[in-house]
């Protein structure tokens, strides 16, 4: 996982920064925030698709991290730990928002019987994307497609594809089994493949 600091800096002093934070050193926490703020914000933005909400949720996540940093035992890497907080905050927010809006629960109802593992994934002939399709339009299509996934499926696909995290790291972050992560990844990919066929075929 990349941070705003160089890898060497991160390797040498991250644990040290955490220890200083645990002793109440807020400047050390500032440094950790600088390292992870962009990644955390970007991750949350991809989950909620709103800059203001992503900003607020990132702030909430870091405040929670500061409050609970004394409980960090170093058994996992710091970024897995902070991502766990970020995911808890964001998934919880998404669920509450959904309930408040009175909308139905996320529908991840792609059943195994609906998915033919040998099916060809071809672009729909009547909906070929224009070669001049704007970047923004693609982004909007992707955001709309991701918005149709449940928070857990969003988290899994984003951590795998964007953050490049391993299955076990995702499992640790979300507090579930590796099998669950792989299963969610399977369904999230299938759904996005169906929804974004026109976009990725031109990649």
């Amino acid at each position: 996982m990349q941070t705003e600091a160089t890898p060497a800096q991160a390797d040498v002093s991250e644990l040290d920064l955490v220890r200083r934070c645990q002793d109440g050193d807020s400047e050390a926490f500032d440094e950790l925030v600088v390292r992870y703020r962009t990644r955390v914000f970007g991750m949350i933005y991809n989950m909620v698709h709103s800059e203001q909400d992503a900003w607020d949720l990132a702030q909430d996540s870091f405040v929670k991290a500061w409050k609970s940093i004394k409980r960090f035992r170093g058994q996992s890497s710091f970024y897995t730990w902070i991502y766990r907080i970020v995911m808890n905050v964001t998934i919880d927010w998404l669920r509450k928002k959904r309930v408040k809006a009175g909308e139905a629960e996320f529908d991840d109802s792609i059943q195994l019987k609906d998915v033919d593992p040998a099916s060809k994934t071809l672009p729909r002939p009547d909906a070929l994307p224009s070669e001049n399709l704007e970047q923004r339009e693609i982004r909007t299509e992707i955001d709309n497609a991701i918005a149709q996934l449940s928070p857990e499926h969003r988290a899994v696909i984003l951590m795998k594809e964007i953050e490049g995290m391993q299955y076990h790291e995702i499992a640790e972050t979300l507090g579930c089994s590796i099998g669950t992560v792989m299963s969610r990844l399977f369904y999230a990919r299938k759904k996005l493949q169906n929804l974004l066929r026109d976009c990725y075929e031109n990649v």
Binding site: L112, P117, Q135, M182, L192, Q193
Partner: protein, 173 residues
Amino acid sequence: MKTFEEKWTAWVDDQLTGNELEEFEASLPDRAAAEAEKRAAKKLGVLLQRELTAKSLLNADFFSHQLRGRIEQDDRHDSPSRGGAGLSVWWPIRRLVWAGAASLAMFIAIAVFVMRDKEPSEPSQYLTQIMGAKLDPANGPDATITIFESKEDRVTVLWTEGLKSLPSEYAAK
């Protein structure tokens, strides 16, 4: 035992090796179509990486500044409540003790008052005067006074006969 979904995901991510890989590929009904699906999944990954990593945090320094403010504010807010945490634990206990002591004191006071009030009263001054009057032959030489007294009910009845008059200074006040 891995499920189909787990094996498929591992296969797409090139995580299947050895016998597991051979067995899985052999189990695919249409290998070519599955390979196309795998390529599609990889393309999806590339698309997501290309499009979703571009979002950067504008005003990053302000983000940190605001965060610092929030943390300081939270710390200030938490400090008194941390100090008051012990107090808040003890306060109900102290309050209970005080309330218990006050209740006990009130109970004792009321009990003492009631008990004292229950004690039979002394014969009234009025009775003494009446009886005294009986002995005065000038006021009523043939007068008789009968006393009915119930200490439990705290009632005394004087029944007078033959008393002509009571001296004005004996009148009940």
